[in-house]
Symmetry: C2
Subunit: 140 residues, 2 copies
Amino acid sequence: MTSAQPATPDGEPTLTIAQVAERTGLTHDTLRYYEKAGLIERVGRTGGNQRRYAAADLAWLEFLLRLRETGMPIAEMQRFAGLRARGEATVADRLAMLREHRAGVARRIRALRRNAAALDDKIDHYERLLEGQPGTDEPA
Amino acid sequence: MTSAQPATPDGEPTLTIAQVAERTGLTHDTLRYYEKAGLIERVGRTGGNQRRYAAADLAWLEFLLRLRETGMPIAEMQRFAGLRARGEATVADRLAMLREHRAGVARRIRALRRNAAALDDKIDHYERLLEGQPGTDEPA
DNA sequence: ACTTGACCTGGAGCGCGCTCCAGGTCCTAC
DNA sequence: GTAGGACCTGGAGCGCGCTCCAGGTCAAGT
């Protein structure tokens, strides 16, 4: 998904936490928090105990961000990550989770649209108030 | 907006906090919190100091819920409510706030759709994993 | 060798939006 | 007149998702 890494095709962990922070928009603290929380599996370390992320870690983080941005709470992401860590046997469960979450997203988009329509009505109302008679007391 | 009230057309405060809680889905505590926070102006009281909401209060609460459900933080609602309390002179400011908020909602809907598309991709991926070869190790 | 800045850990603290509690008053029904 | 439930107040507490801090270690440049 990301393009030109120096030389490593996928496997070798090369990215520092600062680089991952920059690419994902997460802070160092949030990255460490996600690791501590089990959202990402313990990432590789250098001899001196510093984190080095692999491209696969980055891809997973980016997927987590899709979940977060669609409103999935951390507890649920933990559950998902836990299933993922248990391997291929949990694909059906993960699929079910994702489908459910996806349906929730669709509902939230619909709700947002309905509410946006109400905002539009109010905006219209204010516009008429302003252009029309700038001396009437408002009923709403 | 609401239909058959007993006899009062709009003005008289008649609804108990429990009735308003039921109609809005807010709890008693939240209603009191919103009043304390200045999101709604101090509502009418009986001789015995119990709240009685007017239909206009209910309508305003329902509008606040539209703001809340579209993600407006309470601090911003306080600002909006403050402008409203200052009367007709603030209509232009309120209109500006609403337009800005409306634009944010549009952005969030677009972002949700983009992220939902990524979820759909992942769902497809899992579906292929499941139907296809239920014995392959997954690369994502 | 030394400095400087990136990184490490465990744990405390924070902002938001409620939610709950204690201790009291009110009101409706019997 | 009394029981029981709905309501009142001020203020403490909570769950979430980070964010910050102290006190260190590590690594690259001069």
